[in-house]
Amino acid sequence: MEQMVDDSLEDAFQHRIDAEVKIEPRDWMPERYRASLVRQIAQHAHSEIIGMQPEGNWITRAPSLRRKAILLAKVQDEAGHGLYLYSAAETLGVDREALVDMLQTGRQKYSSIFNYPTLSWADVGSIGWLVDGAAITNQLALTHTSYGPYARAMVKICREESFHQRQGFELLWHLSHGTEAQHEMAQESVNRWWWPSLMMFGPPDHSSPNSEQSMRWGIKRVSNDELRRRFVDMTVPQARALGVLLPDPELRWNESTGHHDFGPINWDEFHRVVGGDGPCNAERLTRRRRAHEEGEWVREAARSWATRHVPARIEAA
């Protein structure tokens, strides 16, 4: 009997999705839809939070006050994006601290792009131009995701990310049009970030296990390969304008498809980094845990203040 009720609820739910009607927090939803969303939104939030580290690494060494102010604002945005996303995840009934704990104990993942090191100042440019460019391609598609709070967070994030991508492009443009050494620094950085950026869209469609169900539920709107193709088509002319080469000898315009062809992606590397064996996996998590532990006295003080100053009817959540 219960199964029958669930089936008819699930049919109604799927009809709603198919009719492009958004799902809102207190609506009935299949448990797997909820779990799937929590996993994806949390992973997205964690990526924003961990994503502060590679660029934060350069704040004290930014070459001018202008660049330092920009970088500070950008890293602050990443923190903000993480918080919008945690807030969206919480509407699904999960506890904020539980999510933070899942990140810090490695039970939930973050985008593996942030396990690569930022070795030169030009990497700040490559992250803005390529990594944020790839993120925007993905996030623009997600503004049409079926869950209302997630879609709304994406709209706000996309609006802010476009500054991130443009500042990265501008930074690289100045290096690329600077001295020979600066140009070389820009090129060397693009060489390292190009392939990992393509991996950000995830495994190819034929080997992406969760994709099909996610598409049916309208959580995911565009497939991994299609997003990757869009990113490549968008980036090639930008690279030309920048005066840097994309490190792929097979990259060329294909008249018959109307898109660029590109060489094979090293999926072994992708799986190795996702699996924990990237250049910075341990460093990123260790630093996150330490920051959390060192902030405990602040949370402790805030909790103590809350117990004394907030009316009891406003429960802690």
């Binding site: 807030s87 601290e97 959540a317």
Partner: protein, 95 residues
């Protein structure tokens, strides 16, 4: 490790400019309303998105039940005479 931040959840509303109403933008955790407003400023108005912020304790919001959508919101469906388009007037008149 603590399992809950233990801090109340606040829903944040921002007035984008004078003449507009406050609109819900998201939520955050804070120890009291003052910290909620300060955090909301940093979190939701980094680019001049607002001139005024409301922080409302999430537990103080009382919402209609989505399952009651039918009984609550359907009755106006058969009251088409509440819309100006229900009425026929001479086409050449401005009315």
């Amino acid at each position: 490790m603590t399992q809950s931040s233990g801090l109340p959840l606040w829903e944040i509303f921002v007035r984008s400019r004078r003449g507009m109403s406050h609109i819900h933008v998201g939520s955050l955790h804070a120890a009291d309303w003052e910290m909620a407003v300060q955090n909301a400023r940093d979190l939701y108005t980094r680019r001049g998105e607002g001139v005024s912020i409301w922080a409302v304790a999430a537990t103080e919001i009382h919402a209609s039940d989505p399952d009651d959508k039918g009984p609550l919101f359907d009755p106006p469906a058969d009251k088409v005479y509440r819309h100006p388009t229900f009425y026929e007037v001479p086409e050449d008149l401005k009315l």
